[in-house]
């Protein structure tokens, strides 16, 4: 199932277009980051998390919404697969497609390493963060995609949810007290700082894995409700 989804994304004009756009944007962000005249990539990784969220939203619409639109969802549900396997396959497929896009962006740090001397630690943790965030974002996107048969609603819905989660953390900085603490913790914005500075914190890893599990559960519940 996962392999089928990865192929269907990357062999479609839609997937290639989204992927090429993502890579071009990553290149622009790299040049903007290097304007500080320092061989450091934290300023590149930081906006890349937002771009990965948007790409996850765009890729995940093909998991259920597109299947439903083309009528192939019914065939899928009649296949000898458990619901859990179906959900896991869909999330793995979308995440796998995202990982391919992320793997191609390795060109950017490699180019910086060729002309400068960047610290490899923050680059490694930056990619660990992108992979974890990519899986979590894909999982949320798949859940939204399962809830609607409309391609457009699924794309805009998951983008809106992911961006709201992200900017909730930005807004939380202006608040105080327990509300600020809870809002900040719920936002991926607060959990990427560690990866950017070159550290792997347990709370950040647990957060993104939890978000992925929430996506799996939500997808499973949505499919059950729609049965």
């Amino acid at each position: 199932m996962a392999r089928r989804d990865i192929r269907s994304i990357w062999l479609s004009a839609y997937g290639v277009g989204c992927g090429a756009g993502f890579l071009a944007l990553a290149g622009v962000l790299l040049v903007l980051d290097l304007r500080s005249d320092q061989a450091r990539l934290d300023g590149w990784f930081s906006p890349l998390f937002v771009v990965v969220a948007l790409l996850a939203a765009l890729f995940s619409v093909r998991s259920f919404a597109e299947e439903e639109r083309t009528g192939s969802l019914e065939i899928l549900t009649t296949m000898p697969l458990g619901r859990g396997q179906l959900v896991a396959g869909k999330i793995l497929g979308t995440s796998g497609a995202l990982m391919i896009a992320l793997a191609i962006t390795v060109v950017c740090p490699l180019m910086v390493a060729l002309v400068g001397n960047p610290d490899p630690g923050p680059i490694l943790t930056g990619y660990v963060g992108l992979v974890l965030a990519g899986v979590a974002f894909a999982s949320v996107g798949v859940a939204v995609s399962a809830a609607t048969g409309s391609f457009l609603v699924a794309a805009s819905g998951s983008s809106a949810i992911l961006l709201a989660l992200w900017f909730g953390g930005v807004l939380a900085r202006g608040l105080s007290g327990r509300l600020q603490t809870v809002l900040a913790y719920l936002s991926p914005y607060s959990h990427v700082t560690g990866f950017l500075r070159g550290t792997l914190a347990v709370a950040d890893v647990v957060y993104f894995l939890s978000l992925a599990v929430v996506g799996v559960l939500a997808t499973r519940l949505v499919l059950e409700a729609r049965r």
Binding site: L11, A13, V16, G19, A20, G21, L23, A24, A26, G27, V28, L30, V31, L34, R35, S36, D37, Q38, A39, R40, D42, G43, I104, V107, C108, M111, V112, V115, G116, N117, P118, D119, P120, G121, P122, L124, T125, R173, S176, T181, Y185, T193, G194, L196, R197, G198, T199, L200, A201, V202, A203, V206, Y207, S210, V213, V214, L217, R220, L221, E224
Partner: protein, 473 residues
């Protein structure tokens, strides 16, 4: 079906509860693995222990140019403080974008950090672990040390806001939990009040009366803390006060053709700060206008050189002669222009018949052969502000309170020339996505060609059938 649905909802509820517990546990104890080259954001065990004592909201505001790497590093470091104690809230403010905010906090230098806790406020000169943790420790101590500033001998005034005044220095002391208090030992009974954590003699313009010198000598012998800033231009002789502690005042005018501000050889830029003494910590250079030389008795282990001029410098013992070139009678450099003495001794005292007690008395002394570097006109030049703050902190035992283990991220220069920018844009924005699109087009062409090629033993499908098949695909 209903049973399986109920089982699913139960499993989801259980998983949700497990996730909440897992996240709360991870939030409370958040160990981390630092993979950065300099371990720049791993705070020392001392800082971690210190932060457990913060039990009320502590606000940290770092005044930095937004958008630069320094601001990013500051936000990473301050976020680490917040991760270790959730009472800590921080923000990075650009003083150029928010001049009103900078004015409200009296910020006159970039990288200044303001920390507020339970109505008290201190400033830290830099966004580094050592500075911030020391500032937090000062806040947690909860008391304000009185620093006594001597008057009565023509010293500049703490309330004078002109270029020769000390109003900025007064603000600096107040912002660091010190209460500046002026005392005049030329009047009445000459004795240093016991409330003084340190005494500052900031540029006397006339000789100190014998009674005042005696009072200061007595104060130093009893474990006093004194800072003396003087120069030969003032006409004072501080040697009776300094020589018992291994520091002598040579006088003259130090000229440095190699390191001076502009064409004025007497406006000396000091870059040799060889001491491990905390007074020199974080200071890379100083501007001392018209300094005089000091002599230190290095055989006395308690004396350390804080600052000295370049080897090309020299002392002109007779600056009124008019000639600035090195000549006969001039003393070749490098010249010591700042020194510190730290003398400890065990004192045994008799409290009553047969009752004796011992305690350690520690005298600390900072001497600078220049009396203008800390005035309003020069305090913000080079590392002068930090040097002064460090010296007062050292005199009052607030130095090296935290041994920082984190180092600021190293400088990794990569000048983005137009050629490099063009190359990067060409490869990452055009070549890589272009290659991806080309591969996709190539594959589509191959598939189409394969569809067109007749398979042996099979009749070629009609164009309508081919179209239908493509649409289905």
């Amino acid at each position: 079906m209903r049973r399986s649905r109920r089982r699913l909802f139960l499993a989801a509820a259980l998983a949700g509860t497990a996730l909440i517990i897992g996240n709360v546990a991870a939030y409370a104890h958040n160990p981390q693995l630092d993979l950065s080259a300099e371990s720049s954001f791993s705070l020392s065990a001392q800082t971690t222990t210190l932060l457990t004592r913060v039990d009320h909201p502590l606000a940290i505001i770092a005044f930095l140019t937004a958008g630069g790497p320094e601001a990013a590093d500051a936000s990473y470091l301050l976020a680490r403080y917040q991760e270790l104690n959730h009472y800590i809230h921080w923000s990075v403010v650009d003083p150029d974008a928010n001049p009103g905010e900078a004015r409200r906090y009296g910020i006159s230098a970039y990288s200044t950090v303001v920390l507020s806790y339970q109505g008290r406020r201190v400033t830290s000169p830099d966004v580094q672990e050592g500075d911030i943790s020391t500032a937090i420790l000062r806040l947690l101590r909860g008391r304000t040390e009185t620093v006594c500033v001597l008057t009565g001998n023509g010293e500049p005034s703490l309330s004078d806001s002109g270029p020769n005044g000390l109003s900025d220095l007064s603000v600096l002391l107040s912002q660091n939990a010190f209460a500046p208090r002026t005392i005049d030992l030329t009047l009445g009974v000459a004795a240093v009040p016991p409330a003084c954590a340190a005494v500052l003699e900031l540029g006397p313009q006339q000789s100190l009366p014998a009674t005042e010198v005696a009072a200061l000598e007595s104060y130093l012998r009893g474990g006093g803390r004194l800072m003396v800033l003087t120069s030969s231009l003032s006409g004072t002789d501080p040697n009776p006060l300094l020589s018992p502690w291994g520091i002598g005042f040579v006088g003259g005018l130090v000229l440095d053709p190699a390191r001076s501000e502009g064409v004025d050889w007497s406006d000396v830029v000091v870059q040799d700060l060889p001491s491990l003494n905390p007074v020199d910590q974080g200071v890379s250079s100083l501007q001392f206008p018209a300094p005089s030389g000091l002599l230190v008795n290095t055989a006395q282990g308690s004396v350390s050189v804080l600052a000295s001029t370049s080897p090309q410098s020299y002392i002109d013992p007779n600056p009124q002669s008019g000639s600035v070139a090195f000549g006969p009678g001039d003393v070749p450099g490098p010249v010591v222009v700042a020194a510190a003495a730290d003398v400890s001794r065990v004192v045994t005292s008799t409290a009553g018949p047969g009752i004796t007690s011992t305690h350690v008395e520690r005298t600390r002394l900072v001497v600078v052969g220049c009396d203008t570097w800390m005035t309003n006109g020069f305090l913000d030049n080079l590392g002068n502000r930090r040097f002064f703050a460090n010296a007062v902190a050292w005199l009052t035992d607030q130095d090296s309170l935290v041994v920082a283990t984190s180092q600021p991220p190293g400088n990794r220069p990569l000048p983005l020339t137009p050629a490099l920018q063009f190359e990067l844009l060409g490869i990452t924005v055009f070549a890589v996505p272009g290659a991806l699109i080309s591969l996709a087009l190539l594959r589509a062409a191959v598939v189409r060609r394969q569809e067109k090629e007749p398979v042996p033993g099979r009749t070629r499908p009609s164009p309508n059938r081919r179209r239908r098949r493509r649409r289905r695909r």
